[in-house]
């Protein structure tokens, strides 16, 4: 296994895997010729707008749509009852989360609203403006109900219920216990502890959610142009919930303007739009405006954690004991649920370290807010911040340097394979190698010296360190085992075209990460052709085989391996055919740079010539020669349930104790994503991820009042990181390929987000520590920093 990718045959060739190559498909986007759903217009297309609930919790009374129906340009006004006749309800639970519960959902509600901003009535008109005008004319009576807007209200014994049928507001509970934890704490030299708050935030892809449903009654056929990461998942869902045979449902995901996990969940409006198209017999488009995105896109995080760690006198970490409470929405999100984040929080805490004992409890709590679910680095930033803050506290009470205490406690690079006390099985991680590289990358000692010098002059600089473990490339153990029809495998159809070019139709999808680029690089090497004759196509259920597509950092590891194995298969077919034509043995031939060559490198014939004969002169082929220049191949990850990756972040900040403002001076990452297919793209994934993590650390928070109203639902009020606030980010790599695949690639999309906020939290606390201030809440706004300093 794991043969070297470079020069994987006896012949020299230019290696594509491992080279930083820019993305062929980016040129179109740079020319303003992107093909986003937002930009798409179909003949006779109508536009939908939604009447949204002004209340966070209310019973729906009479709905008067007559004035709206009579408004100019209006073609349809549909209520929850109208769509419920077409669409079966869904429930966001999975079997492997024992005991979890959630109420069934419909595209539009029929009895009550459970969050402010929930879509209630749909209006379809010739233009979006007319649909919005008419939506204002819809009159809905509401009977307000008590609002559960925070964890304590929802968890109170006498709390009203978000769902009346349920005994409580708990969606899910879970617990982990390695045993012996109390004894370890009782005998430990030190116990450090903290209460943490992680604010709600959201993905804010710059292209809001966009969908066009186009139902053709004549063939009972549905085409959905959908800005999503996961077209196959939606093909399955639209088929089953609307009763249209799967083969008659096509989902096309063209260019997608950012996603980050936001665009793989079922949204009420998106499901409704399918029904609207069925009712109108015309294409119907819905693009969320930014306020609609803030009140209906999934949010993430919203965790309250109490955690403590037992520490020996010499700084050895002994045990951790944590309680995580997380507020989701009124429903668990479909089909991936809203409990995965909490589950990953309690399983990832402490994961980089050797521990003797670990105990964790999780409560996932309903409340009257929009649903939370999987967003980039699901659970990782919380687990990482909790762990790494406690490690810094352990360093403080034992007098160790933050890098030293981590070097002392991480699982040694020689100790693999091994498992965490929470049950994760690690094939091979590289914490020690990453620590060593980070020390050099940061010039750590110089930063510490400089910090001391500046402190003497009243300048408060801080250095924060955070190690992390990241979950990538999940097997069916992630969703399939729980009953979700979410594929863990991917498929590709790979062909040599009549001109001798190569076409790859693969089920992993592209949202700008460079999926199509790396798939092309892998094929170039393993088929033996130049990158520029390969066309990679993604994002259309009518074009590619069924597959999981893009989430949980699976594009490179699973999609890349799918492409590798497909390329091998096609190469075998090409050489077999060429051998028949040339009267040679396949084993004596190779394909290099799109030429069939001998063992000594002599060119025998071009791939184009093989293709010409195969497609147009099969009459000249010898008997028994198989001209199979198209192959289909599927690959499902096996072996370890996840390909865990790891890395470490360093954050360097300067805090102004007068204003509470933080200047992020520099951020450092050493990451190990296994085999690097394209370092340029890996580094840009990491940088983008870091900035989303720094957004969570300093700026981003969905703020609600006690009535459950989101109070900052615009891009002027909800702060996303701007270029002037962000630092340059230095990156280095350790490469530990997984042996579960030949390619050896794991994932890198979450690595930046996983630990950036933890490193930033530690850096701010490092700066403020001498002043006796300590923060355990993100985002670290200026007001919270001043409050921690006792100045506000």
């Amino acid at each position: 296994m794991n043969a070297p990718v470079h020069g994987s045959t006896a012949f020299d060739r230019p290696a594509h895997v491992g080279r930083g190559m820019s993305r062929p498909n980016a040129k179109r986007l740079l020319a303003g010729k992107g093909n986003y759903v937002t930009d798409l217009a179909l003949p006779r297309m109508l536009h939908a707008a939604f009447v949204r609930s002004p209340h966070a919790h209310a019973r729906i009374g009479a709905i008067d749509v007559e004035a709206a129906r009579a408004a100019p340009g209006v073609r349809l006004v549909a209520t929850g009852e109208d769509i419920a006749k077409l669409c079966t309800p869904w429930t966001g639970t999975l079997d492997h989360f024992k005991g979890m519960k959630s109420a069934p959902q419909l595209p539009l509600p029929v009895d009550k609203v459970v969050w402010s901003g929930q879509a209630v009535v749909a209006v379809v008109a010739d233009s979006r403006a007319e649909a919005e005008d008419a939506a204002e004319l819809v009159m809905i009576d509401y009977e307000e109900l008590p609002v559960l807007a925070d964890l304590d209200t929802a968890l109170a014994p006498d709390a009203p219920k978000v769902t009346e049928d349920f005994a409580d507001n708990l969606c899910f509970r879970s617990a982990l216990d390695s045993g012996g934890v109390d004894a370890v704490f009782a005998s430990a030299a030190h116990v450090v502890e903290a209460d943490f708050l992680f604010g709600r935030h959201t993905g804010v892809p710059l292209e809001p959610r966009a969908i066009i449903a186009d139902y053709d009654a004549s063939e009972h056929r549905l085409t959905v142009h959908h800005a999503t990461q996961t077209p196959f998942q939606f093909q399955d869902l639209y088929s089953r919930h609307y009763g249209i045979p799967e083969a008659r449902v096509r989902v096309v995901a063209p260019d997608v303007g950012g996603s980050f996990g936001v665009k793989l969940h079922v949204y009420n409006e998106d499901m409704a739009v399918v029904g609207l198209s069925i009712l109108c017999r015309r294409p119907v488009k819905f693009v969320a405006d930014r306020l609609e995105a803030f009140v209906s896109d999934i949010h993430a995080r919203d965790h309250r954690v109490h955690a403590r760690a037992a520490v020996a006198a010499d700084g050895t970490l002994l045990a951790m004991d944590v309680e995580d409470e997380t507020g989701i929405g009124a429903f668990s999100t479909y089909p991936r649920t809203s409990v995965v984040e909490g589950n990953q929080v309690i399983r990832l805490i402490g994961a980089p370290y050797r521990l003797e004992g670990y105990r964790a409890g999780l409560k996932v709590v309903f409340q009257n807010k929009v649903q939370t679910s999987q967003y980039r680095a699901v659970g990782h930033p919380i687990a990482c911040a909790v762990t790494e803050h406690l490690v810094d506290e352990a360093a403080r009470v034992t007098g160790l340097d933050p890098l030293e205490i981590r070097a002392k406690n991480v699982i040694p690079d020689t100790a693999y394979p091994c498992a965490s006390l929470s049950g994760y099985k690690f094939e091979k991680l590289s914490h020690e190698a990453c620590l060593t590289k980070l020390r050099a990358l940061m010039d750590y000692e110089r930063l510490r010296t400089e910090q001391a010098e500046l402190r003497a002059r009243g300048i408060l600089r801080g250095i924060g360190i955070a190690t992390f473990v990241e979950i990538t490339n999940p097997t069916p153990a992630f969703y399939g085992i729980g009953g979700a029809r979410i594929s863990a495998q991917d498929g590709a159809v790979l062909a040599v075209t009549p001109s001798g070019e190569v076409r790859c139709q693969i089920s992993v999808t592209e949202q700008g990460q460079g999926t199509e680029t790396i798939v092309g690089q892998v094929i170039a090497d393993h088929l033996g052709v130049p990158r520029d004759i390969i066309r990679v196509m993604t994002g259309d259920t009518a074009v590619t085989p069924h597959g999981g597509a893009t989430w949980a950092c699976r594009g490179a590891g699973i999609g890349g391996e799918t492409a590798l194995q497909a390329a091998r298969k096609l190469k075998t077919n090409v050489l077999s055919l060429a051998a028949g034509i040339l009267q040679a043995k396949p084993a004596d031939l190779d394909l290099v740079n799109a030429e069939v060559v001998d063992r000594d490198g002599t060119v025998r014939m071009s791939l184009a010539e093989v293709a010409r004969i195969a497609y147009f002169r099969s009459d000249t082929l010898p008997d028994g020669a198989e001209a199979q220049l198209t192959v289909a191949h599927h690959f499902a990850p096996k072996g370890y349930p996840f390909a865990f990756t790891n890395g470490i972040h360093g954050c360097h900040v300067e805090v102004d104790a007068e204003t509470g403002l933080v200047k992020i001076l520099k951020h450092f990452v050493v990451e190990d994503c296994g085999r690097i297919i394209n370092p340029l793209l890996v580094e840009e994934q990491v940088r983008g991820g870091v900035v989303q993590g720094l957004g969570a650390a300093f700026f981003e928070e969905c703020l609600y009042d006690q009535g459950g109203q989101l109070t900052n639902g615009s891009l002027a009020d909800y702060l996303v990181p701007m270029s002037c606030e962000m630092p340059d980010i230095l990156i280095d790599h350790v490469e530990t390929p997984t042996l579960d695949t030949e390619l050896g690639a794991k994932g890198c999309g979450e690595a930046g987000t996983a630990a950036a906020s933890a490193a930033a939290l530690n850096a701010v606390n490092d700066a403020l520590g001498p002043l006796g201030a300590r923060l355990t809440q993100v985002p670290m706004t200026p007001a919270r920093i001043l409050k921690a300093l006792g100045r506000f």
């Binding site: 820019s22 980016a26 740079l30 303003g32 930009d39 460079g514 840009e684």
Partner: protein, 165 residues
């Protein structure tokens, strides 16, 4: 884009990417909707519709403006240039090449706005340092790249134009 009675429409005449355009528009139609829907120039994007994110930036008489904050009728008599126009006349070829080679875009949705701001920085000339480039880009949100590659690409294009690459 509204189908109100034609009497509610107003005439607008302007130049878009060098071509004279005359249309009847609803007064509430923004310049962003006008170029995207009426003229099918969909390179200009709307990300917030309140002038915060910069995805809708176009040049109006040579100056970057948020086309989501300008009504189409306010552009009467103006010269508008979008990313398509800048591309076709080769005005940002070096900037686009620098973006491509540095991978200064991922999903690409913000990119037309970034290019308009980048073009304005390049037109101003000189060699602003990275901090100044970061400041100048702060009206453009990008959720994918973390900005560093964009700063790098603009810095490189500046150096090339100043002949010190």
């Amino acid at each position: 884009m509204s189908a109100s009675p034609m009497s509610d429409f107003l005439p607008v005449t302007l130049t878009v990417n060098g071509t004279a355009v005359s249309r009847m528009v609803a007064p509430r139609t923004t310049l962003a909707d006008f170029v995207r829907t009426d003229l099918q120039l969909t390179g200009t994007h709307t990300g917030c519709e309140m002038g915060a994110c910069g995805a809708c930036l176009v040049l109006m008489n040579g100056e970057p403006v948020h086309s989501c904050l300008v009504f189409a009728i306010q552009a009467d008599g103006a010269a508008i240039e979008t990313v398509e126009g800048l591309t076709e006349r080769g005005a940002i070829e070096d900037l686009q090449r620098a973006f491509h080679e540095r991978n200064a875009l991922q999903c690409g949705f913000c990119t037309p706005g970034m290019l308009v701001t980048g073009h304005a920085i390049l037109e101003k000339g000189g060699l602003p340092d990275r901090e100044h480039i970061r400041d100048a880009l702060s009206g453009n949100y990008c959720r994918c790249t973390g900005y560093e590659a964009i700063v790098d690409a603009i810095e490189r294009a500046l150096r090339e134009r100043e002949g010190c690459a």
